[in-house]
Structures are given as structure tokens and as C-alpha cells.
């Protein structure tokens, strides 16, 4: 099952990932990070397809995408 990890200290809250995700699984938090940016958060892991669009579009390379291998 794929999932993403967002580096909250790198995220600048631009929101490009929120529109890139075809399933709309990413949204902007209302809590700012250390630099004052309202960072992106990942919701609803069940529906993630691992398409990587969110990571590809992130200008700050703040998103890493993983896939748990099937046993």
C-alpha cells in the first residue's frame, strides 16, 4: 500500500501538491511550521495510488513516496 511522507520543515505551503493529487488526498494545514508556512498534510492513506504526482510537482522536494511491498 503506497503512502507519502511530507517533510514539514521543508514544506513552504505553496499547495501545488494539493491540486496535483488526483484523489485530493493532500491539503494545507492551518498550523504553521517553524518558518511560518502552513504546511501540507496527507489524509486518507487508504486511497493513495502511489502516482507520485504530489512529489513530482513539489518545488521543495519535501515529499517522499513509499510503497509497502506485498508479502
Amino acid at each position: 500500500m503506497p503512502y507519502i511522507i511530507i517533510d514539514e520543515e521543508r514544506c513552504k505551503g505553496c499547495g501545488l501538491c494539493t491540486v496535483a493529487c488526483p484523489k485530493k488526498l493532500v491539503s494545507l494545514n492551518d498550523q504553521p511550521n517553524a518558518l511560518g508556512y502552513t504546511v501540507a498534510v496527507f489524509n486518507n492513506q487508504e486511497n493513495c495510488t502511489g502516482c507520485c504526482f504530489c512529489a513530482e510537482i513539489c518545488p521543495d522536494v519535501a515529499i517522499t513516496v513509499f510503497k509497502e511491498d506485498l508479502r
Binding site: L16, Y37, E56, I57, V61, V65
Partner: protein, 247 residues
């Protein structure tokens, strides 16, 4: 557990100085990925230009030489001629490449220098505060075109990728955008091809990357990203304008 997407290894693991939503970061990432795919970072020399792109050395694990404003293609020529076995690229903005450095880019291209040029077109001078660039759109307001670019007074924006593709010395010329996943896939392929031309010693390769500059456009990142698709791409069409060897 498999990593489906991770940071390119040629890219340093640091925070960039770029504003939120600035496409420089995305373009840096694609350049790094192209270097990774050929395993060439250790033999690559980057020619940084003047503007937001000057800090190349802070973001890439490569040797970098700083160039005066607009002169990166001449500096890259000197580097490549002195060390023909190295991979050399310049990374330049639109004021740098299409205004003050027009002569240098056209002649480096015409000589068919064995280099790769990454040209970031965001329709404005970013670092200096959003002045009118040679690529500023007709009617676009900037700090030196407060009533919008008047094409009668200032002429129309340059289409550099098409212009350079007309020179015999150019082996590859393409325009890309990083505003959507679909365009990023094309962009990744084009940037990789642009480096492949050099790796295979097949000639001068040019990439024009359309980019958003939310801060100087006075837009939030999402609106700025939309502008790339709605306003820029219709004037600056994406595509490959020259591909001598069909790489």
C-alpha cells in the same frame, strides 16, 4: 518497503531560498534527476548566472563557476573547451539569457558548443524585484511596465526555443513547463535528452522551462501556477523544436 519517489542524489538535502511555489526548485530537481540518470554529477561543471539562479552551488553536489550577468554561455564555452571531457551546463533566467546575454547565447549555440543550457522563463526579473523582462507578456504589469507591457513601445516577448532552433549549430531545443504532472513527465524526458546530447557528444542542447514567479507576479502560488497554463503556454507553446538525432 520501496521508495517510489525520493530526492535526486545530485541535489543537496537543504532548504532552498526560493519563494513558495517558485518553479526553480522543480526545475533544479529535474536537472539533478537527469544528472543522476547518467551518473555524471562528479564530472559536471555548472555555470551559474546572475539572478535567483546564482546559488546553483548551494543546491547541487557539483563544481560550479559563477558567471557575470548574461555571460554564462561564454563561460561555459571556456570551461568546455578547456575540459572537453567534462559535462558543462549553464542555468540562466530570462533577463540573463534573453536580454543582456542574447549575444552570448546565440553565438554559443551557433558554434554548436557541446554544452547544455537550461533557460528559465518566468516573464520577469525575479531577483531584482519583478521588472520587465524580454519575455514579459503583452499587457503584463511589472515594476518597470506599471501600465502593462506596451508592445508598441517594448516589442513582443522573445520565443527563445524557436529562435535558437533555427540555428544550424543547435542539436536540440525544447520548451517545457512544470505546472502539472503531465507537463512534468514531458519536462523530465526533455531535460534528460538535453543532457544525453552532451553525454553522447552530439551537440548543443537548449531547454526553455516556463516557470511561475508568484512573488513578483503578485499572485498566490496556485494562481501563479494556473497562469503558466492559461497565459504562458498559449504564447510559448510546449514542445520539441529541434531534435537532430531523434534521441
Amino acid at each position: 518497503m520501496t521508495q517510489l519517489f525520493s530526492r535526486p542524489s545530485s541535489l543537496k538535502d537543504v532548504q532552498t531560498h526560493f519563494c513558495p511555489g517558485c518553479h526553480h526548485g522543480s526545475i533544479h530537481s529535474l536537472v539533478a534527476r537527469a544528472m543522476d540518470s547518467f551518473g555524471i554529477a562528479g564530472e559536471t561543471i555548472g555555470c551559474a548566472s546572475v539572478g535567483c539562479s546564482v546559488f546553483l552551488y548551494n543546491y547541487f553536489h557539483i563544481d560550479v563557476v559563477e558567471s557575470p550577468h548574461g555571460r554564462a554561455p561564454a563561460v561555459a564555452t571556456g570551461v568546455k573547451r578547456a575540459r572537453p571531457d567534462r559535462i558543462v551546463f549553464s542555468y540562466q533566467g530570462d533577463g540573463d539569457l534573453a536580454a543582456i546575454g542574447t549575444s552570448e547565447i546565440i553565438h554559443a549555440a551557433n558554434r554548436g558548443e557541446m554544452i547544455t543550457v537550461i533557460f528559465v522563463n518566468n516573464t520577469t526579473y525575479g531577483m531584482t524585484g519583478g521588472q520587465m523582462a524580454p519575455t514579459t507578456m503583452p499587457g503584463q504589469k511589472t515594476t518597470t511596465s506599471p501600465n502593462g507591457r506596451n508592445v508598441v513601445n517594448d516589442g513582443k516577448p522573445f520565443r527563445m526555443a524557436e529562435l535558437l532552433s533555427n540555428l544550424d549549430g543547435v542539436a536540440y531545443s525544447a520548451r517545457i513547463a512544470v505546472n502539472s504532472p503531465k507537463n512534468i513527465i514531458q519536462a523530465k524526458k526533455a531535460i534528460k535528452t538535453a543532457f544525453q546530447y552532451q553525454v553522447e557528444k552530439k551537440g548543443f542542447a537548449f531547454i526553455e522551462a516556463l516557470a511561475a514567479c508568484p512573488t513578483n507576479w503578485g499572485m498566490n502560488p496556485l494562481v501563479a501556477n494556473e497562469r503558466v497554463g492559461n497565459e504562458m503556454i498559449p504564447y510559448f507553446p510546449l514542445g520539441v523544436f529541434k531534435n537532430n538525432d531523434n534521441l
